[in-house]
Amino acid sequence: MFARRTTRKTLATLHSQLIPAYASIPLYMSALISLRGIRKSFGTSEVLHGINLDVYPGSHTVIFGPSGSGKSTVLRSMNLLEEPTEGSVIFEGVEYGPGFPGAATARGKKIELRRQVGMVFQQFNLFPHLSAIDNIALSVHAVTGKSKDEALERAAQELKNVGLLKWAMNYPAQLSGGQQQRVAIARALSLDPKLMLFDEPTSALDPELVGEVLAVMRQFAETGMTMVVVTHEMGFAKEIGDQCIFMDQGYIADSGGADFFDTCTNKRTKEFIGSVL
């Protein structure tokens, strides 16, 4: 018992020394999802050069950085929408992805990982041939196997949570961008994901619609939902982020905790934050 605690403490110390960002995160928790040595190449060019990242339950990770730095690719490798060339995604102790050459371990199925991870896209990606409520109900019915009636009931609840119940029968083309994105969030949440991924959820929106989507995200962040958000909304990032990741040229160039935006010292990071704010 005692020996065990010592080990843990040693590990904890090591951990926070290696990656200072985690110093503020309670160390008795094990990560919900970890990326280990994620490399990704498109053709001959490598765009991620070995990414390591831990996301703890209930935490809000924000990822920012210049265009083309690999933010989306990191996010998309978390649910294996982008299959890494090398490396592992460890979700609740189960290892997914290609792993490392020579190290053969049992691997989880992609679809099982995806059923526990929700994702919201920049372009919403609602199904245009289905009404708002059917977008959600189809997902619930197809993924959880609930009956169509039960799925519709669940969908109605989710729409209510994002304040769009009145619009249930509208098709995506009949909704504003902000409303579409809120339906997309509701659709992802209807499957009770343990982790939510957001890839620039407000970048495709007119400025006056950004607020309503951020409000919904804030609301779910406050309920303790584990979130990873790629965003250029620095105000929002500062507000909800308790792990902040700055990406540059396929590396995690800098990272920190909740106070990252005020305390970071890296010149490149400061420059970038300055240019966006």
């Binding site: 896209f121 990606n125 041939h129 289905l130 997902s139 993924v143 009636d149």
Partner: protein, 248 residues
């Protein structure tokens, strides 16, 4: 000048033989619709093969498409009807031979139509399905296919009109379609101008009818739903959702 033959158009023939002519047209419709249903399935299969990750499947599909896209209907039906019985000793009925010939030809067109329609569905749609954890079959069935069908339907309609017209060549194997009926009436009365004008009129009328029907079908696949038919068909679902909205 006295020798100028007096044109004697026996237009009444069209009315007199209306039952036979309509039956001929109906036969054309029937052969074409049976072939349509079959070639939609075969075409979809080849479209999927052509989009396969495996080169062998793609190769087989391309070969099939390129061969049958190039064969005229007349050649195809003669080959199926006479060639098959020569080679394999099995005789198809004229109806079967017509359906098979059309299916072989048009499935290759449908393969191309489906492939381009499936590729036209935005890739974010598949990704959304994957991210939600849907199975591949579910994504295909409930997400991609409905959107692809909507894109493909106008083209399927024009192909169907082509299929009806191509049945006219099946006269050579003795299928009692419209042109076959015309020719037998012509043999008796020798009124080619009248009879073939009537045939042209009937084919055009058929094309208008097909166009009309496909427009309705297209309406059913469009979104937001348009048309009374669709509203009528979805009224129970809408009432159910309305109850949910009111209850919450």
């Amino acid at each position: 000048m006295e020798d100028t033959p007096r044109l004697n158009f026996m237009w009444h023939l069209v009315w007199d033989f209306r039952a036979e002519l309509l039956r001929g047209l109906l036969t054309a419709f029937e052969v074409a619709i049976t072939a349509l249903i079959l070639s939609l399935f075969v075409g979809l299969l080849f479209a999927l093969m052509k989009m396969s990750r495996f080169a062998i499947w793609r190769g087989i599909a391309s070969t099939y498409i390129n061969i049958f896209r190039g064969i005229p209907a007349l050649v195809s039906v003669v080959w199926v009807y006479f060639g098959w019985s020569l080679l394999f000793g099995y005789n198809f009925t004229v109806y079967q031979a017509g359906v098979i010939a059309l299916t072989l030809l048009y499935s290759s067109f449908f393969a191309e139509i489906f492939r381009s329609a499936l590729e036209a569905v935005h890739k974010g749609q598949r990704e959304a399905g994957q991210a939600l954890g849907m199975s591949r079959l579910r994504i295909f069935r409930s997400v991609v296919m409905p959107q692809a069908l909507k894109i493909a339907i106008p083209n399927i309609g024009s192909m169907y009109i082509g299929m009806i017209k191509d049945t006219s060549t099946f006269t050579v194997i003795g299928l009692a379609e419209l042109v076959f009926v015309m020719q037998s009436i012509n043999a008796e009365y020798f009124q080619p101008f009248v009879l073939f004008t009537a045939a042209a009129g009937l084919y055009v009328a058929a094309a208008f009818l097909v166009d009309f029907v496909f427009r309705i079908v297209e309406g059913g696949f469009s979104y937001p739903k348009v048309g009374r038919v669709k509203r009528f068909l979805t009224r129970r679902k809408r009432a159910q959702i309305q109850r949910l909205v009111d209850a919450n």
